[in-house]
């Protein structure tokens, strides 16, 4: 049964791509707990993986001595995940649109686009002291929708 009160789960891990499969497993377990359907489960786990990939790759430059902090907060109404790295951040305005025809064959540059397509809220916070946090929110209530 989905939790009646809002629950919080923290996962702090070394910055290596090798941990993506562990993160995927944790996100799937939480989605199972929330009793969302398979499509929504895929949406949530994909978004979590994209945010963590960026934190590990761009934020912490795959330095395993740096930590990526993931906080999941959820109840039957909403799923939120906050991913924080120790990096210098970036300029959101410089992020290209991957579905422009001239960008379609680029190998990279689809992560943030997928986050925005899949989730209801995507908020970046750049800490002047260093560190990037992205918060993703998906509504699970009556109005909840899956990606497709």
């Amino acid at each position: 049964m989905p939790p009646s009160a809002r629950e919080t789960l923290d996962l702090n891990l070394p910055s290596s791509m090798d941990y993506l499969s562990l993160v995927n497993g944790v996100a799937e377990e939480i989605a199972t707990r929330l009793e969302v359907d398979e499509a929504l489960k895929d949406t949530l786990t994909t978004a979590v993986i994209e945010a963590c990939t960026n934190a590990i790759e761009h934020g912490n430059r795959e330095d395993p001595s740096k930590t990526v902090k993931i906080r999941f907060e959820y109840d039957a109404e909403a799923f939120s995940v906050t991913v924080t790295d120790e990096g210098k951040g970036f300029d959101l305005k410089l992020v290209d649109d991957p579905v422009k025809p001239e960008n379609l064959l680029r190998e990279r540059g689809r992560g943030i686009f997928i986050l925005r397509a899949f989730m209801d809220e995507v908020n970046y916070r750049f800490d002047p002291a260093g560190g990037t946090t992205v918060q993703l929110v998906k509504n699970l209530g009556a109005k909840a929708q899956t990606a497709s």
Binding site: M17, D18, L20, S21, N24, E38, A39, D42, T45, T46, I49, E50, T53, P98, V99, L104, L105, R106, E107, R108, R110, G111, F113, I114, A117, F118, A147, S148
Partner: protein, 114 residues
């Protein structure tokens, strides 16, 4: 990701399974494509039936394969795409890049028979 190769006439089917998400997957896939192009096999089908999941880095791997094959005068088509992966391909408009077939047989036949 696991990668298996099955030759069917002059078409080669690449069977991907597991999760496609970058890192070692990228090298594995690129090496396979290089080997095939080196052997002048340019009619390729990626069978995604057993691929459970892909992220944006994984999409990049497919595109990199697509471009290498195209540059060599061949084509990489997709077959049997599961719905969770289909939805990512649609949202990123990669359905306009990849020729996609319902089944591996359809994809193989689209090259003009085995």
């Amino acid at each position: 990701m696991n990668l298996k190769r099955v030759d069917r006439g002059d078409v080669t089917v690449l069977v991907l399974s597991g999760k496609l998400m970058g890192g070692p997957d990228s090298v594995l896939f690129q090496d396979m494509i290089k080997d095939l192009l080196g052997a002048d096999r340019k009619n390729l089908v990626a069978d995604l039936k057993s691929l459970s999941w892909v992220n944006s880095t994984g999409l990049g791997i497919l595109i990199s394969g697509y471009s290498s094959v195209k540059n060599a005068g061949g084509v990489l088509k997709l077959a049997a795409v599961a719905s969770r992966i289909e939805s990512i391909l649609m949202i990123t408009k990669l359905t306009t890049v990849f020729e996609t077939h319902k089944t591996v047989d359809d994809a193989v036949e689209s090259f003009g028979g085995e």
